[in-house]
């Protein structure tokens, strides 16, 4: 089973720890390749590591999740991105789906591993 490399972007440290633990504990070949606490670091690390799937928080200071997603998709239209946010309004979901993003509310943390596995392209 090939490994799927993921990247976590969230400004809350607790969320990053939680996501990493949840993803790695699922033990389905998912690996956290990089973590970023803000949008700009995220873009830098993403270009460096080229993960298969990005887990992206929306509400962050400076660049928001949607800002980051837009830039990533401009450079790599095939990039798989999950918008993982506590604040999913109808407008936001519509905007995300137009761009081709998947959305998941933060209360559904346990579904992250499965979603990641489904999204990651064949290795």
């Amino acid at each position: 089973m090939s490994s799927r490399r993921t990247m976590i972007v969230d400004d809350e440290e607790d969320m990053r720890v939680l996501l990493r633990m949840t993803i790695e504990a699922a033990n389905e070949g998912l690996v956290v390749a990089a973590e970023a606490a803000n949008g700009r670091d995220a873009l830098e690390l993403w270009r460096e590591h080229r993960p298969d799937v990005v887990v992206l928080d929306h509400r962050m200071p400076d660049l928001s999740g949607m800002d980051v997603a837009t830039r990533m998709l401009a450079e790599a239209p095939e990039q798989r991105i999950i918008l993982f946010s506590a604040f999913l309004t109808d407008d936001l979901v519509r905007e995300a789906e137009t761009l081709g993003l998947s959305c998941l509310g933060k209360e559904k943390l346990r579904q992250i591993p499965e979603l990641l596995w489904r999204l990651a392209p064949e290795g």
Binding site: E12, M15, L18, M21, T22, R59, P61, A86, L109
Partner: protein, 664 residues
């Protein structure tokens, strides 16, 4: 020889063929002329009497006014003569006491009717009482029924006085604001004697609206005069008896039939005088039309920018002006909002008694008022000499403009209020959005880490377990703080934050609270200086919430690894709690604004951090309810230092001006 009669010429055919008719006509004409002349005499007499009547009425009022000048009103009742006092004013001032049960006369000027002695209660005079009440209800001057028998008895003209302000919008409010009445006595019967009133009528009007009418009202106006009454112009009009139009027509025809020069001259002067009156009447009618139409156009828009150019056009149709400027009153000063035509060299001050006539080239400033309040002023320069009719029409238009200005002001204030409410709504939405997001994050963390602990306990290291448990604890505290904030917000909205102060030790309340709250500052060093007891009257949970908010702010707005200091001490007989940080501080201009609900400063630091701006508003509310105060100053080293002051117990011998609160 001209036939001055309109439309009828004297062709020679008539002269020749009508000679026989002429003889007969002379006889008829002679009779007509004789009758006309005696009627003419009557009219002349009436006019003289009318002038006399008006003069006499005015004289009695003038005499009253002169007596009024310089005198003062009973100071204990706190009402003075409406200003400005001048020779053209009426004076018989009556005051109603605050309960409104009596209306005693407090001053009577010479020349007024004998019944109005000082101390007399006007509400006991039924005619007066009705007029007083009518004027109060309408918020406008009113006239009483005649005080003595007959239609020509003395009449009271009543002006309500609203303590210098405008009449309020409802009857109840007007009753509340009423300071008293100014009453004028009108007594024309003394001059003319009772039997003249069969043929003659008197009308007293205020800005064109009749206030009182006596006698026959169907004759033409034969004399008119104006009175300045409390900054308003009152018009007194005397009307003569019976029309003479049909007789005139007969005369005109007779002139056409005959060609007698000796008869002609006096007849022609009659005819041209009739025409002049007709012309004057037509001109007055045209002016009234202009005013009516103009006021309709002026009322179409509440927006001054749209309405003022229309006003200039309408005014110019009534009175040719070479300059017009409109000023509105704003915060006690006059601001020019519209100007057309070359301005005069010298702009005069608004005169309280505007002139009855305008001279060409002369600049006049006319004040605009609603009730007793000035809403603006209009400066005009007439392009030619302007007579009283036209000035009256212009003044009627100015009344309309004053109303429009007052309406525009109301509209402007309502729009401002709506804008501010929209702003608060927007900020409130942002606050709720932030708080709900942070709530969900904390809930997810608590659930997520607990889950990991439960399901992965065995495979986790000791260190990891401790770490996760601590995270659960921190997020639980965060949850509690967020819930407290939401509840505080709800209570702030409804005005029901409850505070129960008791006597205690502020130092101890502080150390207890900071032990719990230190987890809010994981990346900062927290120093607490609260060794000696500090007596205070405060609610311990208020102290805890205040500290919680101030410490969260300090954590957010100062860099990691810096120190946050909490100090408790007794200062100047008060109990003081201070929280200082080493961040960027708060600029002096914002030091009062930060305590406003939803206020967030404008620095880069503020924009980068998250927060809803409610914390300090809650602090202020809680502290206010505790009979204390809060302020922010600059800390040593440039950061922010929030200082909260609580009251000391009275018995402890400090400044102790505040009352003790008994424990609940």
């Amino acid at each position: 020889m001209e036939a001055g009669a309109r439309g009828v010429s004297a062709p020679p055919r008539w002269l020749a063929a009508g000679a026989a008719l002429a003889v007969a006509a002379v006889g008829a004409l002679g009779a007509l002329i004789a009758r006309q002349e005696s009627r003419d005499d009557d009219r002349r007499r009436e006019r003289a009497l009318a002038a006399l009547a008006i003069d006499a009425t005015r004289a009695s009022l003038d005499a009253a006014l002169e007596a009024a000048e310089g005198a003062s009103i009973a100071p204990e009742l706190g009402v003075g003569l409406p200003s400005p006092v001048g020779p053209q004013r009426i004076a018989a001032v009556l005051l109603v006491d605050q309960a409104g049960a009596t209306a005693p006369v407090t001053r009577v000027a010479a020349g007024t009717a004998g019944r109005l002695q000082r101390g007399a209660d006007l509400l006991a005079v039924p005619e007066a009482a009705n007029a007083l009440r009518a004027s109060l209800e309408r918020g406008a001057p009113a006239a009483s029924a005649p005080l003595s028998a007959g239609a020509d008895g003395a009449v009271l003209l009543v002006f309500p006085d609203y303590s210098g302000g405008p009449p309020a919008a409802t009857i109840a409010d007007r009753r509340e604001a009423l300071g008293g009445w100014t009453v004028a006595v009108l007594d024309p019967a003394r001059v003319l004697g009772g039997d003249r009133w069969n043929d003659v009528g008197l009308t007293v009007s205020d800005a064109g609206v009749p206030v009182h009418e006596v006698g026959a009202q169907d004759g033409p106006v034969v004399a008119r005069d104006h009175l300045d009454v409390l900054d308003r112009i009152w018009t007194l009009e005397l009307r003569g008896g019976g029309g003479s139009g049909s007789d005139l027509a007969a005369i005109v025809l007779a002139v056409g039939l005959l060609a007698a020069a000796a008869v002609f001259v006096p007849l022609q002067s009659l005819v041209s005088r009739a025409r002049a009156e007709g012309v004057a009447g037509a001109r007055r009618a045209r002016h009234l039309e202009h005013v009516a139409e103009g006021s309709g156009r002026l009322h179409q828009s509440l927006d001054l920018d749209e309405m003022l150019p229309t006003f200039a056009t309408v005014a110019a149709e009534v009175v040719p002006l070479s300059h017009l400027a409109v000023q509105v009153e704003e915060d006690g000063a006059l601001r020019t909002v519209f100007r057309t035509g070359p301005p005069p060299d010298h702009v005069p001050e608004p005169s309280p008694a505007p002139p009855p006539r305008l001279r060409a080239g002369e600049a006049v400033a006319i004040p605009l008022s609603r009730g007793w309040r000035t809403v603006g002023s209009v400066v005009v320069v007439a392009a030619r000499d302007v007579g009283t009719d036209e000035v009256l029409s212009l003044r009627a238009l100015l009344e309309v403009l004053a109303a429009a200005l007052a309406n525009a002001e109301v509209l402007r204030r309502e729009k401002e209020t709506a804008r501010r409410l929209e702003e608060v709504d927007r900020l409130k939405d942002a606050f709720l959005g932030t708080v709900s997001h942070e709530l969900r994050t904390s809930v997810t963390a608590v659930g997520g880490f607990t889950d990991l602990l439960v399901h992965q306990w065995d495979s986790l290291s000791d260190e990891a377990r401790r770490d996760f448990a601590a995270r659960v604890g921190r997020n639980a505290l965060s949850l509690r703080s967020l819930v407290d904030q939401l509840l505080d917000f709800a209570r702030l909205e409804r005005g029901s934050l409850r505070v129960e102060p008791v006597e205690g030790d502020l130092a101890q309340m502080t150390t207890t609270a900071t032990e719990q709250l230190s987890v809010l500052l994981p990346s900062h060093e927290l120093v607490v200086r609260a060794e000696r007891p500090v007596p205070v009257v405060a609610d311990a949970s208020v102290v805890e919430r205040v500290l919680s908010n101030l410490l969260s702010n300090a954590a957010k707005y100062s860099p990691a690894l810096t120190t946050v200091t909490v100090e408790v001490r007794a200062v100047d007989g008060q109990a003081e709690l201070a929280v200082s940080d080493q961040g960027a501080g708060i600029p002096p201009a914002e030091r009062t604004l930060v305590f406003n609900r939803f206020y967030r400063g404008d620095s880069d630091v503020t924009r980068a951090t998250r927060g809803a701006g409610i914390g300090l508003a809650v602090v202020k509310e809680l502290v206010d309810r505790s009979e204390g105060s809060v302020r922010v100053e600059q800390a040593e080293g440039g950061g922010a230092r929030f200082v909260v002051v609580f009251p000391k117990p009275v018995t402890s011998g400090g400044a102790g001006q505040r009352e003790r609160h008994e424990p609940a």
